[in-house]
Symmetry: C2
Subunit: 236 residues, 2 copies
């Protein structure tokens, strides 16, 4: 992997456990407020709304909209659908901010710390800057050298503008940038733009509903067990 | 200073000593290559070309151009003007990259480390992302939470798009963001956009040619001795 100068990470699922974090946060909120609900079901449906909501932006049905605002609109709809009553607009804002404090997988912080000593590291995420900055601060992630967020590009992955835009901002050729992700589809799009690729699985990301990405489905440049193993394989 | 969530720093002169760093780097380069020249004069002229080159972008005489490329064009012109012969295009690229490895003032690293524990910190600089990321990595700056660089906005300070754009990316109101700078003019523009302001002097920034900014010239919210003192005054 000579020539790689920057390693950028998909974030949701790859670096942080969105499902476990959100279920814990929402369950805690429900207990404190005496609201019984299918919180796990809400989380899965909330995440299920993610790709379709970005597709509406991609098709031009919505103007550019940051992920925080897509999340907020989906939540409002789903709360009604799940029969959860009595939440104010401020409550919904509060729940929406749970995405800003997702917890890292156990290997994320030590692995990123090792990689940071040798490479430029950053997220390359469909999250917006504020979400990603707050998440890193809250999770105690070894600070990113640069936050490559969708709102910098006005595009969501897997649009090429995100992968190529990140390399351009860093002043690097695409082949000097590696995308690390637990999602084969993300890596496929990155490779088609000329980036290097690294895969490691997160087999519990979707809990009992996980249906794919248990293993690499192509000859990615690095196939690792997790971020610590990636650091070892990258000589960091 | 209740309500301040992020402290953004002007970079050239405020966090790093561009003049001393560049004179040392260029003098070392000249010695290694056996080229005698007025390197200090070249550095002063190079910096002198900074504002006029950004003004050309601002007036629309140039399309959006990142600072690295403005620096490179100015250098090519000045090398000829200073009668420095025998430099290849690769040499000029190498000299231009000296801006990526400016050294911090002595108080910058310890002061930023303290502030980072309590606030979101970042540059708000006319540098481009690559320049600022490489500088932070080289200088051992406590990593920025977010790099707010001119190329994210397609505008140079003191255009309002930079101050307001940085606040928007961070999901903050202008009044939740503080600009810290050793330049009264930068603070004036930030204040007119609603940001909080902090001043500390860098009286040797321009060496013997320093003509201004020896002291605060307005009632900035914080007036400090340096970044460590700013940290103390901000309770960090």
């Amino acid at each position: 992997m000579q020539g790689v100068r920057a390693i950028l990470f998909d974030t949701f699922g790859t670096v942080v456990d969105w499902r476990g974090s959100l279920i814990d946060e929402l369950t805690g909120f429900g207990a404190a407020r005496g609201i019984a609900a299918d919180w796990a079901g809400l989380v899965d449906a909330w995440r299920g709304a993610y790709a379709p909501s970005m597709d509406r932006v991609r098709r031009g049905e919505l103007p550019w909209t940051i992920l925080d605002d897509l999340h907020r609109a989906s939540l409002e709809r789903l709360v009604a659908q799940f029969g959860i009553a009595g939440l104010t607009a401020a409550d919904l804002d509060h729940l929406n901010r749970f995405w800003h404090r997702l917890r890292p997988w156990p290997d994320s912080v030590p692995g990123l710390a090792r990689l940071k000593a040798r490479f430029i590291i950053g997220p390359l995420s469909n999250g917006n800057v504020a979400l990603l900055v707050n998440m890193a601060k809250h999770a105690g992630l070894p600070p990113w050298d640069m936050v490559c967020a969708a709102d910098l590009f006005g595009h969501y992955k897997p649009d090429a503008e995100t992968y190529l835009g990140a390399a351009a901002l860093l002043g690097l050729a695409p082949g000097e940038v590696m995308l690390a992700a637990a999602h084969n589809g993300d890596l496929r799009a990155a490779r088609s733009c000329g980036l290097k690729t690294a895969f490691f699985p997160r087999p519990t990301e979707y809990g009992p509903h996980q249906a794919r990405d248990f293993a690499a489905d192509a000859d990615w440049e690095v196939i690792a067990a997790d971020i610590e193993d990636l650091a070892t394989r990258m000589g960091a």
